[in-house]
């Protein structure tokens, strides 16, 4: 009964999304106030219905209803109930339902937090979200219905992939999807503005907090995924340039560019067309990411068995979204007109360079990600593009970007004085050069990459601190100002972490018998025992590894090798001793021979936690910027138009 209820709610949501997508648009065109007024209740109803459907699926999981095919494939009676809940999005059908839930949630949020926007604008924005909803709900209902029954019902479920039985999975996909799908709001604002023909500073101001909100969630989602891969996959890496990772990173890069170009559009009225294009691109890349992940066309860690025919549906949806929005753009853009003029040295120019570099980075990552697919589709053979490609193209683009990052916020709008900027950057430059020479030497070895990264990190932080001090003298800075600098500090912390791990990590794969000791990164690792231990739905071999430094015992670490009952899948659970300046990491490989020996992987990772710490700072910065007072104020815009937005 419950699954049918969920299915029914989903069908109703589909019908409501058609009403939401069509009626307000027609109403806005013909000036019919009643149809315009439909948009808000429709968006809220849609969210309610999708939430009911989601709740029904969750209930089927918690109640072990194995007559539902999706539940039977992704759950098991032995599965702890937290994972039975997160198993809702552990497979294709459920994760799409989560996608739709997020979309409806963003729609409802816009409908509630836009009281100060003109009704016509809100109607158009919600209608565009409704149209996107039609496409995705149709996808769920017609190709990936999570409520399909299994007859006869299974006696026991196949279990959730053990890799996904982890607290990381409880949060990673919802966060990531919040971000992915959140760009639909920026997209809807852009399309609504194109339809109305009014691309102005007010539009940019309305759009900004939503774009930043999506970006914050995406940042956290990617960081969580990276952290999860680090401790759960047992490989000790934090980023693999895996196609699916790239799929989430592409919208992030374009979203970052969008945040910066929206700033120009809001403050100076320039870059309007460009901003619209970026908003379209960010959401299109989110859809492309969904296609790449969900169609099974990729060879990737994330490539679980799936049905390639579904890919065609998303591809068509992507084509429709990109096609119609670009057509609309081509039709409307010539009427938009250019914004304010600006000098060659100005904040506008620097933000333009930021955008060009970010777009180039996006393009090169995109090229490497879809190149194997294109070659395969053309029948020219199968190949893979490795991480060295991405490092080779990505790093050179990031260096100028990070250099400019310290300068951009110092430059004035319209015309900036290069000499004045240079004068204000003198101290930062000196500190950065000292750091570039000194920090790598302090770590024991000077390499160009760690040197330039240390230099850039200190360059960004020093100039940021300088600007904050300068600004504090003239009064209380705005939340947006703090947010920007905190996010930029986050980038610096991240860059430093990446460089230190890349330059100074140590790794050993060794055979160890109980009693053996191995030295890595100045630490001693002594394998004491490997014992069997039971878990709730698995059996584990638990190693005891004594960690010591300079002969002094620090602690005992317990890496595990689990074997899950229902799937017989082995899983590595690394033992990690995390610290501010370093992590040490031990994981068990497999038993070797009959003397109780195991293959053991040992890592020393300096400053690795700074990578995720930097991401947290970026997200925090975004959050603070989003809460800036001016987004909540009624602001006079143009001739008597009153507008504002509640973020």
């Amino acid at each position: 009964m419950i699954p049918e209820l969920g299915h029914f709610a989903l069908i109703l949501a589909f019908v409501v999304s058609i009403a939401q997508g069509v009626l307000p648009l027609v109403g806005a065109r013909q000036g019919q106030a009643q149809w315009i007024a439909l948009a808000r209740p429709a968006a809220q109803t849609q969210f309610l219905l999708v939430a009911v459907a989601f709740g029904c699926l969750a209930q089927s999981f918690l109640g072990n209803d194995f007559s539902v095919s999706y539940v039977a494939q992704h759950s098991n009676t032995q599965l702890p109930s937290l994972y039975r809940f997160s198993a809702v999005w552990g497979g294709h059908e459920g994760s799409l339902l989560l996608w739709v839930l997020m979309l409806a949630g963003w729609g409802a949020a816009v409908s509630l937090a836009s009281r100060r926007l003109p009704e016509v604008m809100v109607a158009r924005v919600l209608a565009v979200l409704g149209l996107v909803g039609i496409g995705l709900l149709a996808f769920v209902l017609f190709t990936s219905n999570p409520f399909d029954r299994l007859l006869p019902a299974a006696a026991e479920g196949r279990d959730l992939n053990p890799l996904l039985q982890d607290p990381g999975l409880v949060f990673h996909p919802p966060m990531l999807y919040m971000g992915y799908v959140g760009f639909s709001v920026a997209f809807a604002f852009a399309i609504a503005a194109l339809i109305s023909g009014r691309l102005d500073a007010a539009w940019a101001r309305w759009s900004r907090p939503w774009t930043t909100a999506a970006w914050v969630f995406l940042t956290l989602g990617i960081a969580l995924g990276s952290w999860w891969a680090y401790y759960e996959l047992g490989w000790g890496g934090w980023w693999f340039w895996d196609p699916v990772e790239n799929a989430s990173f592409l919208p992030w890069l374009v979203g970052t560019a969008l945040i910066h170009s929206l700033a120009v559009t809001e403050k100076r009225g320039a870059f309007k067309n460009w901003t619209v294009l970026l908003a379209i691109a960010a959401f299109s890349l989110s859809l492309l990411g969904t296609f790449l992940v969900r169609s099974g066309v990729l060879t990737s860690v994330h490539a679980f068995a799936s049905d390639p025919r579904r890919g065609v549906f998303i591809l068509v949806l992507l084509a429709v979204v990109v096609g119609t929005s670009l057509t609309l753009f081509a039709w409307r853009a010539p009427k938009v007109g250019a914004g304010g003029n600006f000098g060659l040295v100005s904040r506008e120019t620097l933000l333009l360079m930021n955008n060009v570099l970010l777009v180039v980075a996006t393009g090169s990552v995109l090229l490497g990600t879809i190149y194997p697919l294109l070659i395969d589709a053309l029948g020219m053979g199968k190949l893979s593009v490795g991480p060295p490609y991405f490092n080779a193209v990505f790093v050179p683009v990031m260096v100028p970007l990070l250099l400019l990052m310290a300068i951009g916020p110092m430059a004035r709008w319209k015309h900036a004085d290069p000499k004045a900027i240079a004068r204000r950057l003198r101290v930062s430059l000196a500190l950065a050069v000292i750091a570039g020479i000194g920090l790598p030497l302090l770590m024991g070895a000077w390499t160009p990459l760690t040197a330039i990264s240390s230099l850039l990190a200190v360059w960004i932080v020093a100039s940021g601190v300088f600007q904050i001090i300068e600004r504090m003298k003239t009064g209380k800075p705005s939340a947006a100002f703090w947010g920007m600098h905190i996010a930029h500090f986050g980038i610096a912390v991240f860059v430093f972490g990446v460089a230190m791990v890349g330059g100074y990590q140590e790794e050993k794969d060794v055979r160890m018998e109980p009693g053996d000791t191995v030295q890595v990164g100045g630490y001693g690792f002594r394998l004491l025992t490997v014992k069997d231990a039971p878990g709730p739905n698995y059996r584990a071999a638990v190693g005891s590894v004594e960690l010591s430094k300079n002969g002094r015992v620090l602690k005992t670490m317990y890496p595990e090798k689990r074997s899950y009952f229902s799937s017989q899948m082995p899983m590595t659970e690394a033992a990690i001793d995390a610290g501010f300046t370093r992590d040490v990491y031990v994981s068990l490989g497999e038993p070797l021979g009959n003397k109780g020996a195991w293959s053991v992987r040992v890592y020393y990772k300096p400053f690795v936690d700074w990578i995720w710490g930097g991401c947290l700072l970026m997200a925090l910065g975004g959050l603070i910027a989003m809460l800036d007072r001016r987004y909540r104020l009624r602001v006079k815009v143009g001739a008597g138009v009153t507008a504002g937005v509640a973020a």
Binding site: L344, G381, P388
Partner: protein
């Protein structure tokens, strides 16, 4: 500077950075591609010489032998077998009779030294390249028999 010159300067700057990026990208792409080769193609001498490439196929039953940290096994497309050596820790889902993809170089004696072994994180999932290799080989065999 006049507005026109300014615009030209911006466009030239943008194009120049695009060109540099494109050059870097294509150059990097060229040197970092690993081709997928099926075991039958390797046996027929069609593997790239002196370059890393990938082989997709199944880990043949009963062929996995360990000696300390080095593992030897055979990757097969059910028609041709390629012996593989790998030093290090194998992924959790590496198992006999299951699909795997290995990346590395072929030595003159026909032994493939893998620098990377990929097995996928779903027990029912076959890497598409491994599947492809097996289908190709079986199709070729059927055509020969007819």
């Amino acid at each position: 500077m006049k507005p026109r010159q300014k615009r030209i300067a911006l466009i030239v700057g943008g194009l120049a950075s695009l060109a540099i990026a494109a050059g870097l990208a294509l150059n990097a792409l060229d040197s970092n591609i690993a081709l997928y080769v099926t075991p039958s193609e390797v046996a027929a001498g069609k593997a790239p010489q002196g370059k890393a490439f990938r082989i997709g196929g199944m880990v043949k039953e009963g062929t996995v032998k360990r000696q300390d940290m080095t593992v030897r096994f055979v990757v097969t497309d059910t028609v041709k077998d390629i012996p593989v050596a790998y030093t290090g820790i194998l992924p959790d889902l590496f198992r006999e009779g299951k699909g795997a993809v290995v990346q590395g170089r072929l030595a003159a004696d026909g032994l493939f030294t893998a620098s990377e072994v990929l097995a996928k994180h779903d027990e029912n999932y076959m890497p598409p390249e491994a599947q492809h290799a097996i289908e190709q080989a079986q199709r070729a065999q059927r055509t020969l028999k007819q």
